[in-house]
Homo-oligomer: 291 residues x 2
């Protein structure tokens, strides 16, 4: 996705949110905000939103000498997800279409995103799960995805947020059997994106091989990813991408990618003619057709 | 109100909104944003929100060589207000308590504020008027205000937004008769705040003497106001303050001021333990008691 000036105030707010997660010291918040504003004023405003976020979150981690400011929030997300995982598992098991139900809960889990808002709001989060079975999604594309998975040998799932990964595991459990499945995580912490330790907390290793994409940027920016990751990406028969960050960085790629996400940002909603709060199942091919 | 770091990203967004109101030229938007970020990075982050806004909006007006970027939006607000004024007038006339009904519509009109969002959203705006008779307000304080007005010789109303002034006129029409009434406007344009020309468009001059406060800052920062204004302020028997900007700049003043406003900003809501969307009738005295 191209650069967007609306992202500037949003990332400055993210920097403030992250500072507050780390310390209550208001003087330190001011100091970091001044530093962030100084850096941002020197930015090329043609940077893509993830590149912009990468620089901001690097400053935050460096200023506070804290490699993972969102660690607590990620642990909380995973704990909360694990607290409801059995009831979700039951719903998937008892459903007429376990795969589609699992897709629905995997999209519901995409609400565990602290880019737009750093506070934990249990009501908003649980509401996402409550409406999982009712929200409109493209069922024909879900069926197409299942057919593609049936024919595939290797499958790559691109994780998005910590906590959400718990439901990605349930989705993987509904895949056709005997597949080689990779679950890609960020190479090092950036905001609350899922990393190796978070994926292990979600027990992803029980159903897939967890691989690092080698980068500390939101989404999947291929030119920043490791060779190991790229080899798996290039050879996967099916790629499933979770969340907005992966969506905005991968929509123009050649590979056929299935996107599962909630639309949580007005800029993205406007750009693709979606509505804020939409649940989307789409593919790179579909997006090209509609252009 | 004290400085708040949350206002930093909000004012940067306001700068972008204002730039877009003036031109569609994205390169110019980028140029102005870079300039604004550079200036802001040098700011004392202890500035109060209105002081912060004042500097930002001065930059915008200077960069675009446009003394009144919100002029069109202000005209639209006044036109839309005038399009419904007769039906509101009818409701006030047929009401059991015309004064309270007029207070309600004066608060409803406070929705015409483009600080939080620069787009015209007719649905949100009209919804505010639709719920005018139903929303909870402090009726006993409205009665107290009417009693104070009855005893007063001179009354000062501090205007807030263009468009909203149309309903302030209806409120003034329900004041007890034979009073000297002043309606204060901004000295020169700042965001969509009501200025002399906007107040005249709303026909305020038919019911009150329009006076300038001499400043180009949101709210009423007394140390920036003209001597003429201060003389009227100091001698008014009753002061009625409209909107959030006046509220946040006057809550700590000694004078007894009646505030009529909608709570539209989370920072203010949190600070005073209000809820976003609350309709407030309160006074400086009440606020001191609750501290």
């Amino acid at each position: 996705m191209r650069a967007c000036l609306d992202c500037v105030p949003c990332f400055i707010r993210q920097a403030l949110d992250a500072s507050r997660l780390i310390t209550d010291d208001e003087n330190k918040h001011k100091e970091v905000m001044t530093r962030v504003l100084k850096e941002v004023s020197g930015f090329d405003l043609n940077l893509s939103p993830p590149e912009f976020g990468q620089i901001i979150h690097r400053i935050i981690r460096k200023e506070f000498n804290n490699p993972d400011p969102y660690e607590k929030l990620k642990k909380l997300s995973t704990q909360r997800a694990l607290s409801i995982v059995d009831s979700v598992k039951e719903k998937i098991k008892n459903s007429n279409n376990s795969f589609e139900t699992a897709v629905r809960f995997a999209i519901a889990g995409n609400i565990m995103d602290f880019g737009m808002k750093s506070d934990w709001d249990d009501k908003i989060i649980m509401n996402s799960f409550d409406k999982a079975l009712k929200t409109s999604i493209d069922s024909s594309l879900v069926e197409e995805l299942y057919n593609e998975l049936s024919k595939a040998k290797t499958i790559l799932v691109l994780g998005d947020n910590a906590g959400e990964a718990v439901f990605d595991k349930l989705l993987i459990e509904t895949f056709p059997e005997n597949k080689k499945i990779y679950y890609a995580v960020k190479g090092s912490p950036v905001i609350n994106d899922v990393t190796l330790v978070d994926a292990e907390d979600a027990k992803i290793h029980e159903v897939a091989e967890i691989i690092s994409n080698g980068a500390d940027i939101q989404g999947t920016v291929l030119r920043q990813c490791s060779e190991e990751f790229m080899s798996i990406y290039n050879n996967a028969d099916v790629i499933i991408s979770k969340g907005q960050g992966n969506f905005e960085t991968l929509t123009n790629e050649k590979a056929k990618i299935y996107f599962l996400l909630q639309i949580k940002c007005q800029v993205i909603a406007d750009f693709y003619d979606y509505k804020l709060g939409d649940w989307k199942v789409t593919t790179t091919n579909r997006l090209k057709e509609s252009q």
